[in-house]
Symmetry: D2
């Protein structure tokens, strides 16, 4: 498998983990989901992200899911695997294992106890030394990690550590961070910036210099089209599309509840078989399901009007 590079662009969909109603992993849905993402035009996949249900898998299950997804992808697109863990021993073990299986890169978020600029830089320096020549994605997601990485700290990490090839940008607000990193002279080499937050700021992020998105949304085709249109210079059309999906995207971004919304929608679309969340996990109420149904109905109408 070729490895992730600074040229990574487009949409790297954060894959959900499909479960059967009894909580076991639903490998068939896993396959169907991979096919769906690739058919929709995803440029890559990201698995074992920290905000999904990956932390609820046992180590064996994690390996099984990664293996199954890599097998299904068959090298058609790069697969990034989240390896954040409290200790270096685990990060090293997981990195070795997934790279052997064919992953293209690993993604590392800063642990919550890092509280100063130097502590953050020093952590990534140790990570880079630990994983050797494996390319890594720096995950910048303060709302979840409680670590605020200053723009110039990102620059220092990138400039010092050549294996840092991509920033998963998920600060909120974070637009100025992109502009800063794209300013002449800030980075020694142009790395890939892929944005998060369910795509909720994707038009602005693309205009500021992002290369795409690395996040989840039950309609990845929206993100794929917005990124493509933005790169083709068709920003107005990108925004029209974005606006059509925005009411649902907003609804899906509710913290904690969002994953239940996403799985309900993916199941409704027939992409995964069940909307089961593993315990402990938020339940979607009957009223919430009706709200999603209505948002989808109105979304379809708007999309028809657009075409």
């Amino acid at each position: 498998m070729t490895r992730l590079t600074e040229q990574a662009a487009g949409v790297y969909v954060i894959a959900v983990t499909p479960f059967l109603p009894d909580g076991a992993i639903d490998m068939e849905s896993c396959d169907r989901m991979v096919d769906f993402y690739l058919d929709a035009g995803a440029s890559g996949l990201t698995v074992l992200g920290m905000m999904g249900e990956a932390p609820k898998l046992t180590v064996e299950e994690s390996a099984d899911v990664v293996g199954r997804i890599l097998a299904r992808v068959r090298g058609r697109v790069p697969v990034v695997v989240g390896v954040s863990a409290p200790g270096f021993a685990q990060i090293e073990a997981l990195t070795n294992s997934v790279m052997d299986l064919g992953a293209a890169a690993v993604m590392v978020a800063p642990p919550g106890y890092l509280k100063t600029d130097d502590a953050i830089v020093s952590y990534y320096r140790q990570i880079a030394e630990l994983i050797g020549d494996v390319p890594f994605v720096l995950q910048d997601f303060p709302l979840a990690t409680n670590v605020q990485i200053a723009p110039k700290v990102i620059a220092q990490i990138v400039n010092e550590l050549p294996t840092c090839v991509c920033l998963k940008h998920e600060d909120w607000p974070g637009l100025e961070k992109i502009s800063y990193l794209r300013k002449e002279g800030v980075l020694d080499r142009r790395i890939s910036i892929l944005c998060g937050n369910g795509g909720l700021f994707l038009p602005e992020e693309m205009a500021r210099g992002a290369n795409g998105a690395m996040t989840g949304f039950a309609y990845p085709e929206m993100m794929i089209d917005v990124v493509r249109l933005s790169r083709e210079g068709n920003a107005e059309r990108a925004r029209d599309l974005f606006d059509a999906y925005l009411p649902l995207a907003r609804y899906e971004l509710q913290p904690g509840l969002g994953l239940a919304v996403r799985k309900y929608t993916l199941a409704k679309r027939g992409i995964i078989a069940h909307d089961t969340l593993r315990k402990p996990g938020a339940q979607l109420s009957g009223e919430a399901r009706l709200e999603v149904d209505l948002l989808i109905k109105r979304q379809e109408k708007r999309l028809k009007e657009l075409n």
Copy 2:
């Protein structure tokens, strides 16, 4: 002035504090802003909210602003004043002072050290005893206060304390909280629920049983129309309007930066004279201003198509 009651409904706009370029309070803009909100159909105003710039005013300035706004309102609509403070002495002093000036109610958020159900109930019990017969708004805004108030704790406070007449609902996600509080048998009396978060979930909140909004957005007419249409049973039209404003509303909800966006827009609309924020405060970059300009232009186009 008549006092706030459980019948409070419609939109209570959270007023910004206008400043002159040198940081002094801009009282003329204050007047113009009040006129604008009332002309737009606001059912009430809320001043000295905790997330705005009220904490940056000296005590004398706070009194001046409240006095000026109340003088301009002249009793046409109820004015709610935020009085959250670390100590009861301050809360009592501020409450007495603003009620004398003609406020309709005070709003109290829970201090961040309240960590258990009983601690929260006990705090509001003490507040209610402290302020006597003054009606109060319970501000439930976990993202800012770090206090998570369980739905049944809200019910307990309401059922026990008759002066709690309104919930400023700003949990996120918070839709199930509204549904719970509107269930038969949960509350002994139906209080007012006015929602926050910049109106970003207003259509769903109204459908769940909210009575309106108490929040800020540079286009309060959106919230006013969505609430009115929802109450008239015209939910589809309400959503059409909501969707038209959503791209900007989303942009304005960026934490920290949102107030700068709101002031920039209000100044652009001629409602306040300057978009000055008092130090320390986030600055809006040139790129951000262009993004807002574009969002407004597209919004105007969509609104024209709607009519």
Copy 3:
């Protein structure tokens, strides 16, 4: 192996994980440490606690350490194993595995996203259902978990879930919590209360009704003697001993740094071979080592004067 019951008392030492200078687990030191703790009079051991270096072990290493310790203990005292994890699948797998190896109970801390009384009760209800008849220790450590468990919530959990046999009490301040739980009529059955925080409040905790300690300190003999003397009614002598060790105990309780102090002292005492901490981990400076040396010297002098 007999299982942990409500009668658990004395000192359950939280075992450190000894490493070789290269970061590999030092199994020989592991054995020596077990022997030392049991010879000193520990009533039990606790392994894989959340604040030590357990989170830095891979799953295989965790199993190895637990297996080695259980093999060395040979059923002489109960061994409690920490199984806190983000998902139930992991908690279940780890519980099954360690109970098969001969553990006496598991310990479960509340995940940080539990923010209301009911959420906490509901979580432990699900845990109890998940692990069946395995006895568990409720770990109440707000400084580390960010979850504040009200005294009455602990009572509700204990009264409702018969497999909750012990409270690892580590709230700070937490003395009133013990008094509350020991009040007539609060608990349906008297469970074991073992205290944490490095023993820094042990004399008061014993007087309030605790049954002992479950924590770490490089001189577990202090805790063992204080608990024994307190239970024998010799509180003055217990306090004399406690005071003699307090300057070092205070120094060892420094957050983050404490484990380095403990390992340095254990190595200095010849109990473990090296004071290595796995990366990422705090380093003890030369000055800090000298400070510990001095504290130990003065401690020895005071102990001599006591006898």
Copy 4:
């Protein structure tokens, strides 16, 4: 009044605010407390600290307390006044007011939203500009402020801002921070380092290069003697004294409860008339009072043995 300089040394006692049983300020106790602190040998006083009850005073009450204390001190020692506030307008107003009354310096803690090195430096740069030539104390208390200031950030602030004359050092653990700041070449000029945390690490802090303490403890004579003896090179005797007071000092450092312990002890000693805490505030239970009584009795016995 002469102003605070980099030569500040000794113990600056953080004054409590004495209240009458009905919650009104007890000005007579205020006077007696000032006399007691100065008679005991305090080198200065600090008022309106952020962790005490100052936040519970109205603005008028704060001015009254500061005025009364300054009047009683009559310039015999420098008085530092805490002026931390959400906005610059308040900080400026309070600074002007207390400097006019005769304060020697103001103390400023970083607001909790500062999350990166540059944000912290920039905040103090603005503060220094705001208050002109008024000397200020940088309050570094991460447990309370949630802001972690890296040692090199302190150095940058000191080196850049000549009016920063003193560090109130209250990081925990924080010993390495002192050593760093005392290393050759780190600071352009030697500022005063006065330590907090109730004096719980005072012997080590003095050995690392601190100039004294700025904190509260119901027996300030302990801190005064420890600092004096340490500076006279009599570290062993300093530690003997420290150890004699440590069991109570440890008890008084309980977060939230500590102030109730301190006031109870000060009242018991006849220094203030009542141990009243203003609402909302923690109550000391009967059991806790007995615990303090016992600790004091044992402390007196140890002190007698020492002499």
